[in-house]
């Protein structure tokens, strides 16, 4: 029997907004796929570009950063910095011909449980279309 491809999406979620948003999606019993592997971080700006690259090279099919909406950061400006760093990683991926669609940043507040579920569903679908990350198979990375 052919097993269906289940994506693995490493998700760095900010403690104050997106992680709480994911909790809310759970308590509200909203359905979202098990492909999301959540990692709580204190702020989206805690996500060093190398976290994204490590996750990508280790075979994550998608990498998601969830942070507070611009202007709502618990630490006031962290998410603005996260956005710049994310733009840099995207640009590096594009210039080297890597699939930058496997990287995503989304603003999800603590009250946006439904948005978290929607982002998780939509992003999983996108990744399903992209298929398995070739880094899963590649040994010599």
């Amino acid at each position: 029997m052919k097993t269906e491809f289940t994506p693995r999406i490493t998700s760095f979620l900010c403690k104050w907004c997106s992680y709480t948003g994911a909790d809310l999606a759970g308590t509200a019993r909203l359905q979202y796929p098990a492909s999301i592997i959540p990692i709580q971080v204190m702020c989206s700006s805690r996500v060093d570009p190398v976290f994204l690259i490590k996750a990508f090279l280790s075979g994550s099919d998608g990498v998601l950063i969830g942070g507070c909406h611009p202007g709502d950061c618990h630490y006031e400006t962290g998410n603005y910095h996260a956005r710049r760093r994310f733009a840099i990683v995207k640009s590096v991926f594009e210039s080297l011909g890597l699939e930058s669609d496997r990287l995503k940043l989304s603003w999800i507040s603590a009250s946006e449980g439904p948005k978290f579920a929607r982002v998780a569903n939509e992003y999983t679908e996108e990744i399903m279309k992209l298929g398995e990350n070739p880094t899963r198979k590649s040994i010599f990375l």
């Binding site: 090279l57 710049r84 080297l96």
Partner: protein, 364 residues
């Protein structure tokens, strides 16, 4: 601001200036390229005794180490230093000063229009003096010498951006005769007061180097179009960086990589048995040393926007990975996101240290 017309070779005039500055107590030391008397090679010398300046070859197209990198460790000594820097070395130093790794306070910067430098393997294999006449002729014709570093051939920032003194060499004159020393700052005027030479009010005109600029831009297009990392997919990356032996030489010669403890050399990357077991359980084989591609991607995201394209990294790579060209190409893209040019202005903040509330509407 004034100018000094050079009546001898440009190299000698700069050497004379350094001598004048030391002998008159205006500076404590001079940082300049030097011919090693014992052999046919060159090094970067920090010179405090004027008699040792006879060996100085300030304008030689050789870069054994990025002088901006070296300067960061000595510029805060409190001593007055005059440094002869290639434009990219000056830009590298500007980037380091932004990172609080150096200071312009006691520094007089002398830079020159640059024709590019010879790769180190050529410096070791050939007598550079014999290559110089052809090099100078090519440069003064506004053409690009084919035997210089690939990133030099593709460099459009060959005019110093913020030097106290700019010496025009490339493209204007062959032997240096008829070259001009442009004094760009109060500091330059102050230091050169009393120095011999015909004073004038000449202004440096970048348009005389238009032909050089066009030739460099054409070379850049050619270089970027021919890179092995071009095109989609992981395979090209594997082909290009797959040769990496993980020596981190590119990191250690990079003027921008100033971190005393690089993340990639920290305990985060001390591999242990659980790491190997976890990796092997998934893939069944492991490349050693691990994380070589990770290392390059990590550096690209950490500092490529500040890359000055000096080419040191490619020169020291033992397996011939075109590191500098990759960083230059990727760095131009990452810098363009923020309309940033590395080393342009010491007041211009590093892109990752600042932000705008409204930017990147596609992200998030």
């Amino acid at each position: 601001m004034s100018s000094i017309t050079i009546d001898t070779s440009a190299s000698r005039k700069v050497r004379d200036l350094l001598k004048y500055l030391i002998e008159n107590g205006k500076i404590d030391a001079a940082l300049t390229m030097r011919k090693i008397p014992e052999n046919n090679s060159y090094d970067l010398g920090l010179i405090t005794d004027a008699s040792n300046l006879d060996e100085a070859v300030p304008l030689i197209p050789v870069m054994t180490v990025n002088a901006g990198h070296v300067l960061s460790s000595i510029s805060t000594s409190g001593k007055k230093i005059a440094a002869v820097l290639k434009p990219c070395e000056l830009r590298a130093f500007v980037e380091l000063v932004k990172r609080e790794q150096g200071s312009f306070e006691n520094l007089l910067t002398i830079s020159h229009t640059c024709g590019g430098v010879f790769p180190l393997d050529l410096v070791v294999a050939e007598k550079i003096e014999e290559l110089l006449p052809k090099y100078e002729k090519t440069v003064s014709n506004g053409e690009v010498p084919a035997n210089t570093r690939d990133t030099c051939r593709a460099c459009e920032h060959f005019i110093p951006m913020n030097a106290d003194i700019t010496v025009s060499v490339a493209g204007e004159c062959e032997s240096g005769k008829g070259c001009v020393m442009y004094l760009n700052s109060e500091k330059a005027e102050e230091f050169t007061e009393g120095f011999a030479g015909e004073r004038g009010e000449l202004k440096f005109d970048p348009s005389v180097l238009k032909k050089t600029l066009d030739a460099r831009l054409a070379e850049k297009d050619k270089l970027f179009a021919s890179m092995t990392t071009n095109g989609p997919g992981l395979d090209r990356l594997l082909d290009t960086f797959g040769k990496c032996v993980g020596c981190h030489g590119c990191n250690s010669v990079c003027p921008i990589c100033y971190c005393l403890l690089c993340d990639f050399e920290s305990a985060n990357f001390d591999y242990n048995l659980p790491y190997f077991e976890e990796h092997l359980s998934r893939k069944g084989a492991l490349r050693l040393p691990p994380d070589t591609i990770f290392f390059h991607l990590g550096r690209l995201t950490h500092m490529s926007f500040s890359c000055v394209g000096c080419g040191m990294c490619s020169d020291v790579c033992p397996v011939g990975i075109p590191v500098a060209a990759i960083f230059k190409k990727t760095g131009e893209k990452t810098a363009a996101l923020f309309d940033y040019v590395s080393g342009r202005d010491v007041e211009e903040p590093i892109p990752v240290m600042v932000y705008k509330e409204e930017e990147f509407p596609d992200i998030g």
